[in-house]
Amino acid sequence: MPDKFVQAQLSAMLMGAVARIKANHKELSRLDSFGGDGDHGSAMLRAADAIAKTVSGAKKKATKDLLSDTAWAVMGIDGGATGPLLGSFFLGMSDAAGKGKSLDAKGLSALFISGLEGVMKNTPARAGDKTMLDALIPAVEAMQTGAKAGAGIPDCLKSAADAAAKGAETTSKMKARFGRAKNLGDKSIGNKDAGAVSMSLIFKGFSEGVESA
């Protein structure tokens, strides 16, 4: 595996996320059913299909375009809260992608940072609010730390995935303040947030996709 990242690797990374989501959508719906409406898995499944379709139709697209096409495809799934938020993550990544054809770990990290900003622009939720951000923020931070330390993309993604998983884990102790689950109040404590788990699956899939590429 080259330490520069070209379109084929980006596609593999995205397809890794697709595979992870497809394998776990039922669990995501189950988690959403505690305080939400039990459909997060099916929304993520549609998002995964939309990503897969975009990737497979994207022979030789520039990174920027592949990411913005992915964003629009995800936003187009009619996916409740998931579509717009996940879409704005990819749209944010696309915004930061330059014209260049390849990316190193620092470059990918910069894309993730911009993706996170895209999400945060669209929701008042912050760390600790029991949302997907509780997986996304630590993942992006771990990626950044790794890149700064000079690690390659695969290692950086592995630590990002670990951080996301840990972040998702912590949401079970949190009280939901956004999304449908907020109506549960204190009763939301005890179960992991569906969106945080799906975000951790995405990073796990990113890492696996790049490994196998």
């Binding site: 719906s29 189950r30 059913s33 305080g35 939400g36 409406d37 039990g38 459909d39 898995g41 099916s42 929304a43 549609r46 629009w72 995800v74 936003m75 187009g76 799934i77 009619d78 996916g79 409740g80 809260a81 998931t82 579509g83 717009p84 938020l85 879409g87 704005s88 669209n122 929701t123 956004f178 999304g179 449908r180 689950a181 907020k182 109506n183 549960l184 109040g185 009763k187």
Partner: protein, 333 residues
Amino acid sequence: MPMKKFVNKPEDLVSELLRGFALANADKIKVLDNNLVVRARPKAKNKVAIVTLGGSGHEPALSGFVGEGMLDISVPGDIFAAPGPPKVIEALRMANRKAGVLFIVLNHAGDVLSSNMALEMAKREGLNVRKVLTHEDISAGSRKNPTDRRGLAGCLAVIKVAGAAAEKGKSLEECAAIAERMEANLATLAVAVSAATHPATGGVIADVKEDEMVVGMGQHGEAGGGTQKLKSADETAAIMLDALIKDLKIKKGEEVLAIINGVGSTTLMEQYIVLQSVKKVLDRKKIALARCLAGEFLTVQEMGGFQMILGRMDKELLSLWDAPCHCPAWSVK
């Protein structure tokens, strides 16, 4: 346990239900190829257009409110899931006109996210759109934290008065002001007694114990509010109405609108019985029941329960409420 629903493949739910909806209401609405629901006979271009968006699975809401005196376009999403921004921006473009577009959004995370992203694009494109958020669910937060409050079936009243104002030729500013005044004087509370199943996932939403009811249940089975022992129609109506009156600070002598919105398996028979309970309580409190309505307008699949909606009315709101409308879900002559 298998789901006892007459459906085909889960992924076809929305397109199939829209096809049947279009067949059954061909005189009133059309479903376009992109699934936007528009009027069969479009409103004159010099009048304000009204657009809304929302997840499916709540039939007849929200597409059933498209028609004369009500909405111009509804953007249906997937089951219980807001439509994505791309479809919403398409609808805003299609509705756009010099007179302007009133964009009514129910306060749910997905709908707000999609509508905000679409609005941003609309602004960039120079479209003349004005958004009004409905969030009249008193169970989910105090009147001081309006963003915590969900948008429930009270949107019917907001759409009705805004729709009538638009039909009368009022300006976008005026229509928005009317919608906001209705919204500010509106309060909804839901009660659930039995669960529903999600038609795509088969998952149970909002399980309620055998001898209990949940006041404050959301319209997707989101938990919340007060679990309590089952009560009679009179007792339940009194509990809910007291909370609504308190929230709106309705005083003796004021005129109100009351709507009983059945959410699924609670019968029209029960909705009527609850409505007469409401009338009895209002009579005791010397509050005038100026207008009322009962029926299934915004459902939660086959959930048992209803939403009670109370609105403080003034002369203009009453006359807009009485104005004609004709849409799949409702008709006023």
